[in-house]
């Protein structure tokens, strides 16, 4: 359902992505791990066009998204079409990016109401059920600054789900959290995965990757180094670079 072909991206002289290809099937949970600067967040942001790759094709549900290539030249689609495509992809950010001037309720209903023209009453009903799902039904009228980091991130997940996305992108969703708050966010993500949501998760949570992912991808220096089911990935990685990375993040268990 999501297919990336030969994605390249650079900032000035720095090649962040060097022709990355990746295919994610419907209902799959793919975790991307790797050292910082490996390009994993940039890759994720290319999928919903928050970053515009210089080369390569992004296919969503079998059709090229965001731009057309005619005679080898790229033509970006109109902004309205890009915006429409993004609605199918929920995005969760490392630092939440909740709207601080809106209550939890309005954070969740803003886009459905203004972008999708969902009637307010219906959008609010849906928001309440999403908040129940992430365990925050009592926070409807709170402002983001009144919430803990874990609660903020759960609201951010509810906000993304409110658009009815076909897939969810997570950009290091637990990296900005205090350790004791990581679990509650992972729990919500786990239940999403159990419900069959297609998910691409950039993370440092090896335990989550191991238990929940269908595939684990290791990225280094702008390339995919290893792409394997979690059991194989964590117990018998094929590449030396993967092994040394796993050793460095968890000296005790990897080997």
């Amino acid at each position: 359902m999501i297919e990336l072909i030969g994605i390249e991206k650079s900032y000035g002289a720095l090649n962040v992505l060097k022709g990355v290809s990746l295919s994610v099937a419907r209902g799959d949970v793919v975790c991307i791990i790797g050292p910082s600067g490996s390009g994993k967040s940039t890759l994720l942001r290319c999928i919903n066009y928050l970053e515009e790759p210089e080369a390569g094709t992004i296919m969503l549900a079998g059709v090229p998204a965001y731009r057309d290539i005619v005679n080898g030249r790229m033509f970006p689609r109109p902004r309205a079409e890009i915006d429409a495509t993004r609605r199918d992809l929920g995005m969760v950010f490392q630092d939440f990016n909740l709207f601080p001037h809106l209550t939890v309720m309005r954070n969740i209903t803003e886009a459905p109401i203004t972008v999708c023209r969902v009637p307010r009453a219906e959008a609010e009903k849906r928001a309440v059920s999403l908040l129940e799902r992430v365990g925050l039904a009592d926070k409807v009228d709170a402002y983001p600054e009144e919430l803990s980091g874990g609660q903020k991130q759960r609201v951010a997940i509810a906000r993304a789900l409110a658009m009815g996305p076909k897939a969810m992108l997570f950009d290091e969703p637990t990296s900005a959290l205090d350790p004791e708050l990581v679990g509650e966010v992972l729990e919500v993500m786990r239940s999403l995965a159990a419900d069959g949501m297609t998910m691409i998760v950039v993370t440092h949570e090896m335990g989550f990757a191991r238990q929940v992912a269908d595939r684990v991808i290791f990225m280094d220096q702008g390339q995919i180094v290893e792409d394997a089911p979690p059991e194989q990935f964590f117990t018998a990685p094929a590449m030396a670079r993967t092994r040394s990375f796993l050793r460095s993040v968890n000296p005790a268990s990897a080997g």
């Binding site: 919903n48 928050l50 902004r79 309205a80 915006d83 429409a84 993004r86 609605r87 992809l89 929920g90 995005m91 950010f93 630092d95 990016n97 909740l98 709207f99 601080p100 001037h101 803003e110 886009a111 203004t114 972008v115 999708c116 009228d141 709170a142 402002y143 983001p144 600054e145 009144e146 906000r159 993304a160 658009m163």
Partner: protein, 231 residues
Amino acid sequence: MELLNFSVVTQYYDVLLRGFGITIAMTLAVITMSLVLAVPVALARMSNSFLIRLVSGIYVEVLRGTPLVLQLVYIYFVLPGVGIRLNGMVAAILALTLHYTAYLSEVYRAGILSVPKGQWQAASALGMSRSRAFIRIILPQAVRTVTPALGNYFISLFKDTALASVVTVQELLFSGQIIAARTYQYFTIYTVCMIMYFSVGYPAAIFVRWLEKRTSSGYARKRCYTKGKAA
């Protein structure tokens, strides 16, 4: 002759009040127009097009880099030379609006740039268009940040309306000048004028200080009242 002569004040209070009314009306007119006009100017300053950035940049820098009183005189005395004849009031409102629009656009620009990039990204990721994200997400946060700064500009605008006396607008200062010239009661008349300006300017300054405090205390605070009611 005594320094303070209140009979002059009772005799001419209607002239002073009329002038005061014009001062207030000019202030409100200029506030309204420059508050609105400054938004497109701020956006033009951040435009992707070099030409739009250049033109708006020249406008802002020229108006910020020259004296307001000269701009006023320029509009009133120079424009007639090219066939544009404006009465004093229109010229004054136009000059003040152009001048304050330039300043407010810079305030807005700073406010817009102070909103974290992640807010744009979150809005985009939810499928909002750039313009919707700007109006619903970015602008409310920017306005809140810059409200105290705007307040300070409005106070100085209120005082700057006195410059309109240069182009024959009978606002408070000019009304005072007329009465003083007629009665020679400079001390009394100008003291009363000063008190009248101060009676608006000082409470306004206190209000802005209160706004500053309130703005820095976060978004949830405004809800405290409702919370108490519910409990």
